[in-house]
């Protein structure tokens, strides 16, 4: 869907179009009002024409057990005891649409991952080569490569719906209104209200999850226990693009290329200065002479 302006493109070193600016959007998932009904999972399947295989019950409510090329979102259920009370935490997992996306940084195929100017990070499967670098780049363990076509898939934040002014399918369908959609600013404001309410009801550590280590995200959570995001099925407290990935995809690459260039130039000018080293095969075995055919700087 290129009906939205693209502000960043994988494996592209020149400037992206920057003149037009869409307002930044965000999806806000209020974990405290989610009842785990999975209507959003169904809506996602319906809108995006996905049908995962019927899996096996592994003894927990999570169904399917993990994200896949066919399941772009998934409710993850965690039990915890807080202040002597059992709590059942239900987090809707899926792509966080990072402002600084590790998948896009890692991807070697030009244009296989794009970021629209409204913040949505989208995979373009027709450009995908199936290398899986996006999986290495992602701090949230989201992209999945299909066994059918070896292309990477994940939540598109319904970029096709958003492009025509619609909210994502999951937002539209949530029966409790736990998923909200709008400009990022509006979502932050609304989150404030929810957090004030939660605090008034005894959740002192309620807060917004919009991790700055990845530049903030365009999918945010309201958490009852924002001081312990790990409680929510291991949501990382400080997600960042891994140091190994930054080093792999950072300045080292252009330096590496420059290194190759220097070696090639060095060899060429060595030849220009010294010429080739030649030993004449004389009839008289004893009198082989070494000659450097180019003029040697020191002789001049």
């Amino acid at each position: 869907m290129t009906m939205l302006d693209i502000q960043r493109r994988s494996a592209t070193t020149t400037e992206a179009p920057q003149v037009r600016h869409l307002p930044k959007i965000a999806k806000l998932i209020d974990v405290s009002t989610c009842i785990g009904c999975k209507a959003c999972q169904v809506a996602c399947m319906e809108w995006n024409d996905l049908r995962d295989e019927v899996g096996k019950n592994v003894g927990v409510y999570d169904n399917p057990a993990d994200l896949s090329d066919q399941s772009w979102t998934l409710m993850r259920f965690s039990e915890t005891e807080q202040n002597g009370k059992l709590e059942w935490l239900i987090r809707k997992d899926g792509c966080m649409h990072c402002a600084d996306p590790g998948c896009l940084k890692a991807c070697p195929s030009p244009g296989a991952i794009i970021q629209y100017s409204n913040g949505i990070v989208d995979f373009q499967q027709d450009q995908c080569i199936g290398c899986g670098y996006c999986i290495q780049g992602c701090p949230f363990n989201i992209p999945r490569i299909s066994k059918k076509d070896n292309k990477a898939y994940k939540c598109s934040l319904c970029s096709d719906r958003v492009a025509v002014g619609q909210a994502p399918a999951c937002v539209k369908t949530c029966p409790t209104g736990a998923i909200h959609f709008g400009t990022k600013e509006d979502m932050q404001d609304y989150a404030e209200e929810r957090i004030t309410d939660l605090k008034a009801r005894g959740y002192q550590n309620a807060g917004l999850y919009d991790p700055q280590g990845v530049g903030g995200t365009h999918v945010m959570y309201v958490l009852q226990h924002a001081d312990q995001p790990e409680l929510y099925a291991n949501l990382p407290a400080n997600p960042k693009i891994a140091a190994t990935v930054s080093l792999w995809k950072g300045i080292t690459k252009p330096l590496g290329l420059a290194g190759f260039g220097l070696i090639a130039l060095g060899a060429f000018f060595h030849f220009i200065k010294r010429g080739r080293k030649e030993v004449h095969e004389d009839e008289d075995d004893q009198l082989a002479i070494v000659r450097q055919s180019g003029s040697n700087g020191r002789d001049a």
Binding site: I129, I135, T244, W248, P254, F260, A288
Partner: protein, 210 residues
């Protein structure tokens, strides 16, 4: 057909082995470099596009490794570094300047060639192990994500070292006239051998005499 002034340096089987490694190396390196940096992604056109490049590269790499393994075992014994080799490396300035008369006598291989041999062995092993670790769709999923990330980093680094080393290797073979012929035809000139590899020359000529 061999002229009296020629000495055999490589058998036909050794030469074929070497050139199999060389061809597979070029293909593995070009397909790998296509993914190394966006500036080189156009190289993927040589392999039928990005997806084909991704698919073919690991197979080219493994094939190259197998042929290299045979070659390395064949030449292993010629590549032990000696005291003279260390001296030779210390005088690398004279080597580059071509002041051969100032250098300690060289055997079948000079210290630079030997060093490259060991660097190649290290790089090839690193490339094989790390390459398998981020090979999708088959093997990458069996390793933890942090290991896979590290593997990709080391793979790119080892590839850089190996390609840089081979660039020097190719130039050296071009610079020293008569060397390329050795690997192409198997024969080197008597004077070439006596000048560039005097200790080896002595060995082979004495063998012949006795």
């Amino acid at each position: 057909m061999s002229q009296p002034n020629e000495i055999e340096r490589y058998t036909a089987s050794q030469r074929s082995n070497h050139w199999m490694v060389a061809i597979l190396f070029i293909l593995a390196a070009l397909s790998g470099l296509a993914l190394f940096h966006p500036a080189l992604f156009w190289l993927s056109n040589l392999f039928g596009g990005g997806a084909w490049t991704r698919i073919l590269h690991p197979f080219l790499g493994v094939a190259m490794f197998l042929f290299f393994l045979i070659l390395a075992l064949r030449f292993w014994k010629h590549n032990h570094l000696t005291k003279n080799d260390r001296k030779w490396l210390g005088q690398i300035g004279d080597v580059i300047a071509g002041n051969d008369d100032k250098l300690p006598p060289v055997g079948r291989y000079n210290a630079g060639q030997k060093l490259l041999f060991w660097v190649m062995i290290l790089c090839m092993l690193a490339l094989l192990v790390t390459g398998v670790m981020f090979w999708r769709p088959w093997f990458a999923a069996s390793f933890s994500i942090d290991l896979v990330r590290l593997a990709a980093l080391i793979h790119a680094f080892a590839a850089w070292v190996l390609i840089a080393g081979i660039m020097v290797h190719i130039y050296a073979a071009f610079w020293v006239k008569g060397t390329m012929r050795g690997m192409l035809t198997g024969k080197v000139g008597r004077a070439w051998a006596r000048h560039h590899h005097p200790e080896w020359y002595q060995e082979v000529t004495e063998e012949k005499r006795s």
